[in-house]
């Protein structure tokens, strides 16, 4: 009997999940506007971002056409875009799904393999539909490559999902219980959201590593990720930035925008974590409610059996049936609580960490620039001294070095300006996405609550005549 219950829960779980997760996928991969990203917007020849790339890719698209000239990106954060602005370029015709988790191997060396299916009409892909098999470390490997390529330029690279020793061990050991099924499902969904977010980023979508990940049947095994998860990399990067900060004087922030934004993200970080914690608590308590309702249902059934007044006995049995249906309702709602809101919030908490990382990268760039300036100054002083000594070789070397460091100072300034520009753009995009995501998700969540209430009305209205029939 215990097994039957388990199976029923698993079946019910996966059927509800299918509905919930298809909702999650839909909102992540589409945007309400109809305009398509034209082929010109994605130049297949670029291999990674070009710093001197004109703002073409990100410039506001007016009326659907891609403007040839670069529009100087204003430093101000645009107010929330109207429907005819940058939103138009957001709709891309690409669908990614992560499915069919399969266990490969046995014991502690076992791992899960997921099927990654990409359906698209975009020309940068070689086929309309591609299926590949990937394991978790492959995703980490992808993130690690993208982070090392783009983070220092101020791009917000979506972090990969977290490793979980406990979760994976259960799976490896071969426990077929509900919790390991849930764990695999949670991970599968997280991997899917990760990929969708990654390709939503216009620059990352073009990246050859991303294309290779999605398309090529064989992928070199990412060994270095054994120690590094998405958060691991971020931690490393942030630690380095911290060390830099400690060494340098507080950065002379000439741009109030950055100071303001940084503060905002600090606050948002705290607040989102709090919200996430409350939602996690809701998920937990809703599950408890489901369990307790089921338990009451059984107890009411026993009470009904024991009751010797026939009509009351029947009513109590029916009450037990209603409560059993309601416990399933609560369980379904807790999955909605989890997958619609809780996991999304978790994703955003990690994204905010990436955003903060990017600000730190800018500080690093500034520090590098400053260091170059200091070095240049030293070289100039050294040359000045050498003017009075009579060592023409050394003087020449000193002059050469001055030229070298002048170049580095210029490069440092350019890099700093570029990263500042990139961050402004990235932050603008992030905030727009965040608002959109939240709006969409909250509606879907409220609709899930509506559904629950509708069912409750149905069940109780069916029970009412039974209660009245007690005579």
């Amino acid at each position: 009997m215990h097994e039957c219950k388990c199976k029923r829960s698993l079946a019910g779980f996966s059927s509800v999940l299918f509905v919930v997760l298809s909702l999650v996928k839909v909102f992540l991969s589409q945007s309400p506007e109809a305009a398509c990203l034209s082929a010109e917007d994605i130049s297949p020849s670029s291999n990674g971002p070009r710093d001197d790339d004109p703002d073409d890719l990100f410039a506001g698209v007016d009326g659907g056409s891609v403007s040839g000239q670069s529009r100087p990106q204003s430093g101000r954060v645009r107010p929330l875009a109207g429907p005819d602005e940058e939103e138009n370029r957001d709709t891309f015709d690409i669908q990614i799904s992560v499915s069919d988790p399969e266990k490969v191997g046995d014991g502690m060396n076992a791992y899960m393999v997921y099927k990654v299916t990409t359906k698209t009409s975009l020309s940068i892909f070689s086929r309309d539909e591609v299926c590949v098999k990937r394991r978790f470390s492959d995703f980490l490997g992808l993130y690690s490559k993208l982070a090392s390529k783009y983070m220092h330029m101020g791009y917000i690279v979506p972090p990969a999902p977290e490793k979980s020793i406990v979760g994976m061990t259960k799976v490896k050991v071969g426990k077929e219980d509900l919790s390991s099924v849930e764990f695999v499902e949670k991970r599968r969904s997280a991997l899917e959201r990760y990929l969708l977010r990654t390709v939503k980023h216009p620059a990352l979508l073009k990246d050859p590593d991303v294309l290779q990940f999605l398309e090529s049947s064989e992928l070199p095994r990412a060994v270095s990720t054994q120690a590094l998860s998405g958060a691991g990399i971020l931690r490393m990067v942030n630690k380095a930035a911290d060390a830099v900060n400690k060494m340098t004087i507080k950065m002379n922030e000439s741009d109030a925008w950055f100071e303001e934004k940084q503060q905002q993200f600090e606050n948002l970080d705290v607040q989102l974590r709090k919200l996430h914690a409350s939602v996690e608590s809701l998920v937990c308590h809703r599950k408890e409610l489901s369990v307790n309702t089921a338990s009451f249902a059984k107890s009411a059934a026993m009470l009904g059996n024991s009751e010797d007044h026939t009509a009351l006995s029947r009513a109590l049995s029916q009450l037990a049936e209603v409560e059993e249906k309601i416990d399933q309702l609560h369980q379904d709602q807790s999955y909605a609580d989890f997958y619609l809101i809780s996991e999304l919030l978790g994703d955003y908490v990690r994204l905010i960490t990436a955003v903060k990382g990017v600000f730190d990268q800018r500080m690093k760039a500034w520090a590098k620039w400053q260091d170059a300036q200091v070095m240049l100054q030293r070289k100039r002083e050294a040359e000045a001294k050498l003017q009075y000594a009579n060592k023409p070789d050394k003087l020449q070397q000193a002059t050469d070095e001055i030229r070298e460091w002048e170049g580095k100072v210029q490069q440092g300034e350019r890099d700093f300006e570029q990263i500042s520009k990139n961050i402004r753009r990235e932050v603008g995009r992030f905030e727009k996405d965040r608002v959109k995501d939240f709006r969409v998700v909250i509606i879907k969540y409220l609709e899930s609550l509506v559904h629950t209430q509708q069912q409750l009305i149905k069940y109780w209205e069916a029970f009412l005549p039974e209660a009245k029939a007690i005579a």
């Binding site: 929330l80 307790n292 009751e307 509506v450």
Partner: protein
Amino acid sequence: MVRSVSVDLNNDASLVIDIPDALCERDKVKFTIHIKTTLSSFQKSEFSVPRQHEDFIWLHDTIVETEEYAGLIIPPAPPKPDFEGPREKMHKLGEGESSMTKEEYAKMKQELEAEYLAVFKKTVQVHEVFLQRLSSHPMFRKDRNFQIFLEYDQDLTVRRKNAKEMFGGFFKNMVKSADEVLISGVKEVDEFFEQEKIFLLDYSSKIKDATAKAEKMTRSHKNVADDYNHISGAMNSIAADNNTAFKKHLEKCAEVFEKLRKLEDRVASDQELKLTELLRYYTRDIQAAKDLLYRRARALADYENSNKTLDKARLKGKDIAQAEENQKQCLRKFDKLSESGKKELTSFKARRVVAFRKNLIEMTELEIKHAKNSMSLLQGSIEILNSN
């Protein structure tokens, strides 16, 4: 005043009792008992008197100890007013004050006050029902101590102390677990009592279990409501930092969660009042019915012993008259208990069925009402949020 667990027991106008008012002073609750009567045994036709919980317990105990009432189901004593829950919450609130926003704190405080009120209502109700059970019963309403309880215009504390000394809690001090063994050990000739015995023994454990499970269910609802409260607060914090349209959007969401919390709270407290309280009350009432069976079983045992004594006396040829008299008395007592016991148990079943019916209907109607309110709240909010 919503009467929950029992049907309207005030349908006899000759003696109408209710508790319109109660005062909570620290640990003590002072109930104001209001009596309206046409009976000549009372001095006034309408009057009020203040009583404490301990007075109710004294009344209950004296009735239990009264031999005359052995064949009746004694209305269960009202449980002690339990403000532990709200008090603990108040403590937590005080401790967590620093980690909450001002709005969150105010909301939790409001919620706490509502909880306090709910406990209050519950305890008033259960004390009221106790008195009404007595007033509506043909024998109990004539009880001398009941009259004293209602009429005596002084503090009953002195009487309570005296009573304790007199009875010493004789009946209650008996090992209660023995009664189950005694009841099930009795050789039952009467089919009615045989059925009742089987039924009551089984039902009492089932209803105790159902009560516990209902309590857990209610607590979970309250936890969910709490979470909605925190979510609402967190959303408001995020809203405070945002600009323009999104801020309004977030504030609207926070408002939705706040309203959801209120609804969830109401679902929880209505479920408690209609379902959990019903089960709690009848758990106690079933126990009272079992006590009746116990007393009857005891009387039967006494009768059987008296038979043995009579046989022995006849054999020895000594004290026969005494033994015969004793046997006659035991039989009389046993028959009396059986006769009134049968009546009591039959009306008990009727009362139980009516109460369950009433409460299940009311609970269901409230569940439907709250679900409909939730739905219209949610649908209205979705419309507003979509139009933004």
